[in-house]
């Protein structure tokens, strides 16, 4: 349905997006995962026809949209990272304004406003000014505004940044409902691995402007299928011990988090005894040991050598 072909954006000496090719099939939920500064927002701006690429193409149903963006804009609902609303207007007034921009009027407009407000759970507070809402509520109206014209594709750029867990769950549930129950195609960008893991069928991982991996969640995790993650929690931080453990033969990657050590090791390796032995030599107390199957975060770590939130 929607694809990008070698999309590139260069700002003076910086290449923000480098040769990115993505495909979104109808009804799919696709994640664009990457740390801050990876080029996700720039890619989204180009896909949304708001920014001209330096090279490459964006196609909707096989037709380029760069010169004639109207068709693309008709089917797109874009939820930007910023709260793109009038703070001095109420949620209802904002939705009415954006609805009218899309040519809605009369009963149809009122019904659509009611529908999207119900969808984001703000029907009972629609008369309040947006500036008086919590951050989470503002993000929900931000989504509602993008839904006013019944878009076929919803593009969301970090829609949960800076909101409380309750609002985040509500928002994620709403997006899941739109994708699964209403068949809406979703492109969801985030640097929160768990959100992408929860919502998306397929994932593109971006770093430094490039797509470094893509596939279904299972396919991506299969990158680490011959590995497992061991998380050891100690009673305190032992820098010297942690360094020693990271250097044990077979350890492929290690991360230190305060008093925990995360090691990626080959599946089936009998390393635990060696780890405990070394800890005992240092007089360190192990509080907890957890052997996990890899997450997307682990995949990202393996691919880039750094964490998503670095």
């Amino acid at each position: 349905m929607l694809e990008t072909d070698k999309l590139t954006k260069q700002f003076k000496d910086t290449i923000a997006v480098d040769d990115v090719s993505l495909v979104l099939k109808r009804g799919e939920s696709v994640g664009l995962l990457g740390p801050n500064g990876a080029g996700k927002s720039t890619a989204i701006a180009m896909i949304s026809t708001l920014m001209k690429p330096s090279s490459g193409d964006v196609r909707l149903n096989g037709k380029s949209v760069l010169k004639k963006p109207d068709d693309m804009r008709r089917v797109l609902g874009v939820v930007p990272q910023k709260i793109a609303l009038y703070e001095e207007l109420s949620a209802y007034e904002n939705l009415k304004f954006f609805g009218r921009l899309y040519g809605l009027s009369g009963n149809k407009l009122e019904q659509r406003i009611e529908y999207v407000l119900e969808l984001v759970g703000l029907a009972d507070r629609k008369k309040e000014l947006v500036k008086n809402y919590s951050g989470g509520m503002q993000r929900r109206v931000n989504l509602a505004a993008a839904m006013m014209h019944e878009p076929e594709v919803l593009i969301m750029d970090e829609p949960t940044v800076g909101i409380d867990p309750q609002s985040r769950n509500h928002l994620l549930e709403t997006i899941r409902k739109l994708n699964r129950d209403e068949g809406m195609t979703v492109l969801y960008t985030s640097h929160y691995m768990e959100e992408v893991e929860k919502l998306c069928d397929r994932v593109y991982i971006m770093d430094h402007g490039k797509v470094i991996a893509e596939g279904t969640k299972e396919e991506l995790k299969a990158i680490l299928s011959d590995q497992e993650t061991v998380l050891i929690e100690f009673d305190q931080n032992y820098p010297e011990l942690f360094k020693k453990l990271s250097e044990i033969e077979g350890v492929q990657h290690s991360t230190i988090e305060e008093q925990s050590l995360k090691l990626i090791i080959p599946r089936g390796t009998r390393m635990l005894a060696a780890l405990f032995h070394e800890a005992e030599r240092y007089g360190a107390q192990v509080i907890n040991v957890n052997v996990q199957t890899p997450t997307l975060e682990d995949v990202f770590l393996r691919l880039t050598g750094r964490k998503l939130r670095d």
Partner: protein
């Protein structure tokens, strides 16, 4: 278009600080300036008091006698000769002028003292008198010939003033113009500054009885109104900047609406706001300060025509500022405009004080600002409600508006495509 307009007006109505600037501030200034500077304008007659010297360079009795001789030599019937001789005596212009200044209404303001030319010049130099009126030799004779025989010989009065631009001189000049009109002379009055040598200057005659002078409240109601409407331009441009920053502008672009529709809606919103702003300021000022005595439809129609033209011009100015703001992606334009340019425009436009004494170039610039041209149009309408007098200032406002609009269209970033 309707959606944009409603939204812009709702946003303005909810912005209390902007409302204060656009409505409360000018009203407060009208009250302060109107009351405190009342004396400078015609409301206070004390400010117009003056002493003048009257110099007669002829012997009035001799001049009348000479005319009477001319009448007798004309060979007209004796009854007619007697009537003309009496008329020459009673209608002597010198006597009439003196009686005019002795009239109760003028004697409170103007003190006249007869002097010879040298004495009068000295008094003027020493500033013990404000002006000198000179009746040159032959004045009475020429004037009487004009009146009685319909001769086309021009007779002239000479007015010498220490300060030609002072309100007192203006008033005296108007009185003399009215005097010559009353006695139906084909005369002109030469106006000379104290330093200049006597030279004849002919000028048109205006009537002062048909117009009321502009009061301080009228001056500052109009002055502040035409100044504060300019803030609408920066308000609208500031709004556009916020829309761009918060990505609402991107949402609008995604709706496939023509970018020019957005720009024109900004211009129309600004025009609508200015119209309401002017209507509120004028009607409140009329109600509370009795600024405008005229309550005829014709009077208010003229005010409405000027206001709508000014509103159109400010709308175009707002569009230009929106275009520059969006192109530069910065709020510097509305900030600089409201922080300094408006005050400058208000000054050269004459919002703070009359520009009569200012350099010609400054006045010319002021006349080409929307506020300055509107100010001239309002004053012209107040003094003489004549539509033909409005054409020139209204044309200037219109031309400036079209220039603003063309610049706005040229500078507006047309991000209709994938840009």
């Amino acid at each position: 278009m309707g959606a944009f307009l409603i939204k812009d007006i709702m946003l303005l109505l909810r912005d209390r600080s902007e409302l204060l600037i656009l409505l409360a501030m000018p009203f407060l200034l009208i009250a302060i300036l109107g009351f405190s500077l009342r004396g400078i304008f015609s409301g206070d007659l004390e400010a117009l008091e003056m002493d003048i010297a009257l110099v007669s360079e002829e012997n009035e009795a001799q001049a009348v006698a000479s005319i009477q001789n001319e009448i007798e030599e004309m060979g007209v019937p004796p009854e007619q000769t007697e009537a003309l001789t009496q008329a020459a005596e009673s209608a002597s212009p010198q006597t009439m002028l003196v009686s005019l200044f002795e009239d109760e209404s003028l004697s409170e303001l103007i003190t006249v003292e007869r002097m010879d030319r040298a004495q009068a010049q000295q008094s003027l130099d020493e500033e013990t008198v404000d002006a000198v009126i000179t009746l040159p030799e032959g004045f009475t004779q020429k004037s009487l010939r004009n009146m009685l025989f319909g001769s086309k010989e021009g007779s002239e009065l000479e007015l010498l003033a220490a300060d030609l631009s002072s309100p007192q001189t203006d008033v005296l000049d108007s009185i003399l113009q009215e005097f010559v009109r009353t006695v139906n002379f084909e005369a002109s009055i030469s106006r000379l500054s104290g330093q200049e040598s006597a030279a004849e200057v002919s000028g048109g005659i205006e009537t002062i009885t048909a117009r009321e002078p502009i009061t301080s409240f009228q001056y500052y109601t109009i002055g502040m109104a035409v100044m504060f409407v300019l803030f609408v331009g920066s308000t609208i441009a500031g709004q556009a900047n916020l829309e761009q920053k918060q990505m609402v502008f991107d949402r609008i672009r995604l709706s496939n609406r023509s970018p020019l529709l957005y720009l024109s809606s900004k211009a129309i919103a600004a025009s609508a706001i200015v119209t309401v702003q002017l209507a509120l300021l004028f009607s409140l000022s009329a109600l509370l300060f009795q600024t405008f005595a005229a309550d005829s439809w014709a009077f208010w129609s003229g005010i409405a025509i000027i206001s709508i033209t000014l509103a159109f011009s400010v709308g175009c100015l707002a569009a230009l500022m929106v275009a520059i703001t969006l192109r530069l992606e910065s709020d510097a334009v509305p900030a600089i405009f409201s922080g300094g340019v408006i005050s400058l425009m208000a000054f050269v436009g004459g919002s703070f004080m009359p520009l009569d004494g200012m350099p010609e170039m400054l006045r010319a610039i002021g006349n080409w600002t929307p506020n300055g041209a509107a100010l001239s149009a309002y004053f012209s309408w107040l003094l003489e409600p004549d539509l033909s007098q409005l054409m020139e200032p209204l044309m200037r406002i219109g031309i400036v508006a079209v220039v603003f609009l063309l610049l706005a269209l040229a500078l507006f970033p047309r991000k209709g495509g994938a840009a």
